[in-house]
C-alpha cells in the first residue's frame, strides 16, 4: 500500500515537474549547502516571516476596514472589540509593525557587522536599504488609518515635519494630505499608499532581495584575518 502510494505521489510529482520544473526550483532554493552560520543569521528569515504575517493580517483587515473618516474609527473599533479574533488580527498587525522595524534594523546591523554588503552582495544590500525606508513608510501611512486621536495628531505632526523639506516641502505636504489640512481626502490617500502602492514596491524589492540571497548564498562568518 505504502509503496503504491509513494509511486502515485511520485508520478504526480513527475507529471507536474515535467510541466513546471518545480524540482529544480525546490532543490535550488532548499537543497543546497551554506557555510556554518550562527543564530544571527535567522534575523532575515524572521523579518520575512513577520512580513508574511503583515500581509495576511493586512488583507484580513481590509475585509472590515472602511477608509472613510466617518466610518474608519467605528470599523477599527468593530475589528478590535467585536469581530471574532479581530483582536488577534489587529494585534498581530499592530505589533508586527514594530517587529518589522526592530528585525529589519537588527538584520542590517548583522550585515554591517559581518561585512556582508561587499562583493558580490552589493545589490542585495542596496535593496535592503530601500526596504528599510519602505518599512518606515508603512509605519507612517498605517498610523493614520485607525483615525483616532493618536493617529490623527501624530499625522498632523508628521506631515508638518515633511513640510520642512527645502523647495518642495509645501508641495509635498499638499500631495500627502490632498489639501492644506488632514481631511476626508487624506485618509484614502494614506490607505491607498499603505495597501496598494507600498506593498507593490515592497514585494518587488523583497523578490529581488530573496533571489539574490539564494543566488549568491549567505555570507560566511568572517575570520579575524579576513
Amino acid at each position: 500500500m505504502a509503496n503504491r502510494k509513494e509511486t502515485r505521489s511520485a508520478r504526480v510529482g513527475d507529471w507536474v515537474d515535467e510541466r513546471s520544473g518545480w524540482r529544480l526550483a525546490w532543490s535550488t532554493v532548499f537543497i543546497r549547502k551554506i557555510p556554518k552560520v550562527n543564530w544571527l543569521y535567522t534575523l532575515g528569515s524572521a523579518t520575512l516571516f513577520v512580513l508574511v504575517i503583515q500581509v495576511v493580517t493586512g488583507v484580513l483587515l481590509t475585509f472590515y476596514y472602511v477608509p472613510e473618516p466617518a466610518q474608519a474609527h467605528a470599523s477599527v473599533r468593530y475589528i478590535t472589540h467585536e469581530l471574532s479574533f479581530g483582536w488577534l488580527i489587529r494585534g498581530l498587525h499592530h505589533f508586527g509593525a514594530s517587529a518589522m522595524v526592530i528585525l529589519t534594523i537588527a538584520h542590517m546591523l548583522r550585515v554591517v557587522l559581518y561585512g556582508a554588503y561587499k562583493y558580490p552582495r552589493e545589490i542585495t544590500w542596496l535593496t535592503g536599504v530601500m526596504l528599510l525606508l519602505l518599512v518606515f513608510s508603512f509605519g507612517f501611512t498605517g498610523y493614520l488609518l485607525p483615525w483616532d486621536q493618536r493617529a490623527y495628531w501624530a499625522s498632523v505632526v508628521g506631515t508638518q515635519i515633511a513640510e520642512v523639506t527645502p523647495f518642495i516641502g509645501s508641495w509635498l505636504k499638499t500631495v500627502m494630505l490632498g489639501g492644506e489640512e488632514i481631511s476626508a481626502l487624506t485618509l484614502p490617500r494614506f490607505y491607498g499608499a499603505h495597501v496598494w502602492a507600498l506593498p507593490a514596491i515592497l514585494l518587488s524589492l523583497v523578490g529581488i532581495h530573496l533571489y539574490l540571497v539564494v543566488r549568491n548564498g549567505i555570507t560566511s562568518i568572517p575570520k579575524k584575518d579576513e
Partner: protein, 701 residues
C-alpha cells in the same frame, strides 16, 4: 576589489560552503524556531497588551499632545535640537546623510576586509548611528508625556524650566510672534493652528510668568539677580504694578521689605533695567493688563470711542472721570447705612452683599471701594459725584505696558487692527443675524427665526472661546455654515477674533432685547421682483449694487454670466458664503423670474421716451420673435410689422396703453388667449419699457 581578489573570495566561499551545513532542514529548523518565538511574542502582546484605540479623531481638540509611534520618536526628538530655521537640518539633512551613508557602504568601503575589526570606520559610524537612535528614542520616552525640549535648559530657574517643559518643544529657544499678540490668551486658550490650550495644565501665575519670560528676553536674568534670592516669579506676577514700583523705589521703607536689608533698587538699577524688571513681572500684554488692571472698573467689554492719543492721555493722567449718581433718592437711610458698613468692612448681614450687587456692582464690579470712616462712606453714597478716581497709570506702568494697553483697547474697540470686526461682521454675519445682531428669518429653514445674538443674556452666557468656535465651525444643525478657514470657510483666526471683539462691544449696552418682528419667508406665490426685494437686497443691495455680495448691475458681471449660471448660483448657492442654496426654498419658476429680475438690473430703464429701435425691438427679439414672425400672426421684427400685423390689427394704439392689445396680452388683461410669452412672462421692467413706449406715442427712433 580586483578580479583576482574576487576570484579568491569566491574560492574561499566555495570552501566554506563545502564545510557548511544543509539549508534544508538544518537552517530551516533554526529559522522556524525563531519564527515561532517571534509569533509567540506577537501573540502575547496582542492578547495581553492589545492594539489600543483612542477616541475618534477630533481635529478641534488641540489640547491633545501628539505621540508619534515609538520608531519615529528619534526623529521627533532630533527636531528639538534643531529649532526654528535650522529645523531642516534635523528633519532632512541628518536623516538623508544617514541613509546615504548606508546605501553607499559597498562603494565607500572597497577593501577586502570583512571582519569588523578590519573596518573600524564603518563599524564605528554604524554603531554611532544606532546608539544615537537608541539614545534619542530613550530620551524621548523618558520625557513623555510632556512635550519637553532640551533647547533651553536653565537648571534651577523655574520660569526657564517652565518654558523648556512647555514651550521649547515646539517653539525652540524663543517665540516669534506678531506685536500686539495677546500672549496670555494664546497660552491659556491655544490656537486653532494646533497649539494646545495650557489653561488646564498651568496656573495663572505660571502663564503670567511665561508671558513675561517670552516678551522680555532678559527680564528673567534681571529678576534672578535682584528679586530672585527671596522671591519666586510666580509670587510676584500677581502683585499690582504700583506695589512693584514702590518696592523698587522705597527700599527698606517699603513696609514688607522693612528689616530685610533690601537695597533701594530704584537708585541702583538704570531706568531701562527697572522697566525690564517691571515688564517681566507684569508683561506688556494689552489684553492681560486690561483684564487685571482695568476690567474691575471698566468691565470686560472694551467699548472706547475715541482716538488713540486721547485714550493715551486719559490713561496716563488718570484722575476723576467717573460720575456716580446720588443715591439719596434711590435708597433708604437704612440701606445707605448698610452699604456704608459694607464698604468700611464693618460687621453687616448678608443683605449688604445683595444690596451691593443690586446698586453698585454694575459700575464698581468686584472691586469694593474702601472708605476711611462710616461717615465718609455715607457721604459718598448719598452725594455721588466723582469720588472714584482712576489711578495715574502714567506713573505706574512702563512705556511698553502703556503701549500694549492702548493698542489693545484701540484695537479691540475698532475691531482688532487692520481687519475691522465691524466690517467683517457686516460682510459675513449681518445678512442673517442683522446689522445689530437682532436676528431675523432663517433663510435656510422655512419658518425658523434666528434669535438675537446681541442680548446681554446671549453674550454673558458665552465666553470668547465659545463664540470663536461657533463662528469657525458653524452650526450645521441650524443652517450656519462654517466660517473658519480651518473648516473651509473664508475667515482666518484673527478675523474671527475681530468679529468676537466687535460682538463683545455690544455687551456694555446691548442693542436689542427681543427678536424683532420679521416678515415671513417669501410665499411660494411671490414674484421674482418681490423675492429679490425681500431676500436678495440684504446682501446685493436694493438696486443690486451689492454692499456684501457682488454687484449684480455691474456690466461685466452681467456680461460674464449666462442665465443658466445665474440660475444655478441661486439654485445651488456658493459654499462657505452666506449665499445658500435657495433652490430649497424657492420654486424653479421663482428662480427663473429672479434671473430675469436680475437681468433687469443690468438694463436700467431708458431716460425719456423709449424708442422702437433702441429699447423695444431688443425685447421683441429676445422674447417674442423666435415664434412670432416665422409662424404667421403678429410679427415684431420691424417697426411697421409691429404696428400693422396681428389679428385684429393694430395691436398697438400709440398713446393708449390700456387699449393696446399687445400690452393686454403681456399683462394678462385680455379675456382671450394666454399671457405672452407663454410660461415665462416678460420682466416688470420690460413691460414697463413697452408701456412707456406706447404712452410716448410709440416712436420708431
Amino acid at each position: 576589489m580586483n578580479e583576482q581578489e574576487k576570484e579568491e573570495y569566491l574560492e574561499e566561499y566555495a570552501e566554506e560552503k563545502k564545510k557548511g551545513v544543509d539549508f534544508f532542514p538544518d537552517i530551516i529548523f533554526k529559522d522556524t524556531l525563531v519564527m515561532l518565538i517571534v509569533f509567540l511574542i506577537l501573540f502575547g502582546l496582542s492578547a495581553f497588551e492589545g492594539a489600543g484605540l483612542e477616541e475618534i479623531a477630533d481635529p478641534t481638540d488641540d489640547s491633545y499632545t501628539p505621540k508619534p509611534e515609538w520608531y519615529f520618536l528619534f526623529l521627533f526628538q532630533l527636531l528639538k535640537f534643531f529649532p526654528g530655521n535650522i529645523e531642516v537640518v534635523g528633519v532632512i539633512v541628518l536623516p538623508t546623510l544617514a541613509i546615504a551613508f548606508l546605501a553607499a557602504l559597498p562603494w565607500t568601503d572597497r577593501s577586502t576586509r570583512r571582519h569588523w575589526s578590519g573596518r573600524p570606520l564603518v563599524t564605528g559610524v554604524t554603531a554611532a548611528l544606532f546608539a544615537g537612535g537608541v539614545f534619542l528614542t530613550v530620551q524621548a520616552l523618558l520625557e513623555a508625556p510632556a512635550p519637553g525640549g532640551d533647547a533651553v535648559t536653565a537648571q534651577g530657574d523655574p520660569v526657564a524650566e517652565l518654558y523648556s517643559a512647555n514651550c521649547a518643544g515646539c517653539h525652540g529657544t524663543s517665540v516669534v510672534a506678531n506685536p500686539g499678540t495677546d500672549f496670555y490668551r494664546v497660552i491659556a486658550g491655544g490656537t486653532h493652528e494646533g497649539m494646545p490650550a495650557f489653561a488646564s495644565d498651568l496656573t495663572v501665575e505660571e502663564i503670567d510668568s511665561l508671558v513675561g519670560f517670552i516678551l522680555v528676553p532678559r527680564g528673567n536674568d534681571t529678576f534672578a539677580a535682584t528679586c530672585g534670592d527671596c522671591h519666586a516669579v510666580g509670587d510676584l506676577v500677581e502683585i499690582e504694578p504700583s506695589e512693584l514700583r514702590d518696592a523698587l523705589a522705597l527700599g527698606a521703607d517699603y513696609s514688607p521689605h522693612s528689616g530685610a536689608g533690601v537695597p533701594v533698587w530704584g537708585e541702583i538699577l538704570s531706568d531701562d533695567v527697572q522697566a525690564q524688571l517691571l515688564n517681566f513681572l507684569s508683561a506688556p500684554d494689552g489684553q492681560r493688563l486690561w483684564s487685571q488692571q482695568c476690567a474691575a472698573c471698566h468691565g470686560t467689554s472694551v467699548a472706547f470711542e475715541g482716538g488713540e492719543a486721547e485714550l493715551r492721555r486719559v490713561v496716563i493722567a488718570g484722575g476723576s472721570h467717573l460720575e456716580m449718581p446720588s443715591f439719596r433718592e434711590q435708597l433708604s437711610d437704612e440701606e445707605i447705612a448698610v452699604l456704608a458698613g459694607f464698604v468700611t468692612g464693618a460687621e453687616v448681614g448678608p443683605e449688604a452683599a445683595a444690596l451691593w450687587t443690586a446698586s453698585c456692582f454694575g459700575c464698581h464690579g468686584g472691586r469694593i471701594p474702601t472708605a476711611t470712616s462710616h461717615a465718609a462712606a455715607v457721604a459718598a453714597i448719598t452725594t455721588g459725584g466723582a469720588h472714584e478716581t482712576m489711578p495715574v497709570w502714567g506713573e505706574v506702568l512702563t512705556d511698553e505696558q502703556l503701549d500694549s494697553l492702548v493698542d489693545y483697547v484701540v484695537g479691540v474697540a475698532s475691531g482688532s487692527g487692520a481687519s475691522g470686526g465691524k466690517e467683517l461682521y457686516a460682510q459675513n454675519c449681518a445678512s442673517c443675524h442683522g446689522a445689530l445682531g437682532e436676528g431675523g428669518p432663517n433663510p435656510t429653514r422655512v419658518g425658523d427665526i434666528i434669535a438675537p445674538i446681541s442680548t446681554a443674556e446671549y453674550l454673558e452666557t458665552r465666553d470668547d472661546r465659545t463664540l470663536e468656535a461657533i463662528i469657525a465651525q458653524g452650526q450645521p444643525n441650524f443652517g450656519m455654515s462654517p466660517f473658519g478657514s480651518a473648516f473651509g470657510g473664508p475667515l482666518d483666526n484673527e478675523q474671527i477674533d475681530a468679529i468676537v471683539a466687535f460682538m463683545r462691544a455690544w455687551e456694555a449696552d446691548p442693542p436689542v432685547d427681543l427678536p424683532p418682528e420679521v416678515p415671513d419667508v417669501p410665499a411660494a406665490t411671490a414674484s421674482g421682483s418681490e423675492v429679490f426685494a425681500q431676500l436678495c437686497t440684504q446682501c446685493h443691495g436694493v438696486e443690486g449694487e451689492g454692499p456684501i455680495g457682488p454687484s449684480l448691475k455691474d456690466e461685466t458681471w452681467q456680461a460674464s454670466h449666462t442665465d443658466e449660471e445665474i440660475f444655478d448660483a441661486i439654485n445651488l448657492g456658493h459654499s462657505a458664503t452666506p449665499m445658500i442654496a435657495w433652490g430649497e426654498i424657492l420654486s424653479s419658476a421663482q428662480i427663473g423670474e429672479l434671473v430675469s429680475a436680475i437681468r433687469d438690473l443690468g438694463r436700467p430703464p431708458p431716460a425719456g421716451i423709449p424708442t422702437f429701435e433702441a429699447n423695444v425691438l431688443p425685447i421683441f427679439e429676445r422674447s417674442c420673435n423666435l415664434c412670432h414672425g416665422t409662424s404667421g400672426g403678429w410679427s415684431g421684427s420691424t417697426y411697421s410689422d409691429t404696428l400693422l400685423t396681428g389679428d385684429p390689427s393694430p395691436t398697438i394704439i400709440p398713446g393708449d396703453p390700456l387699449n393696446s392689445r399687445l400690452l393686454q396680452t403681456l399683462n394678462g388683461t385680455h379675456p382671450q388667449g394666454v399671457v405672452m410669452p407663454p410660461g415665462s412672462p416678460l420682466s416688470d421692467l420690460d413691460v414697463e419699457t413697452i408701456t412707456n413706449w406706447i404712452v410716448g406715442g410709440a416712436p420708431e427712433n
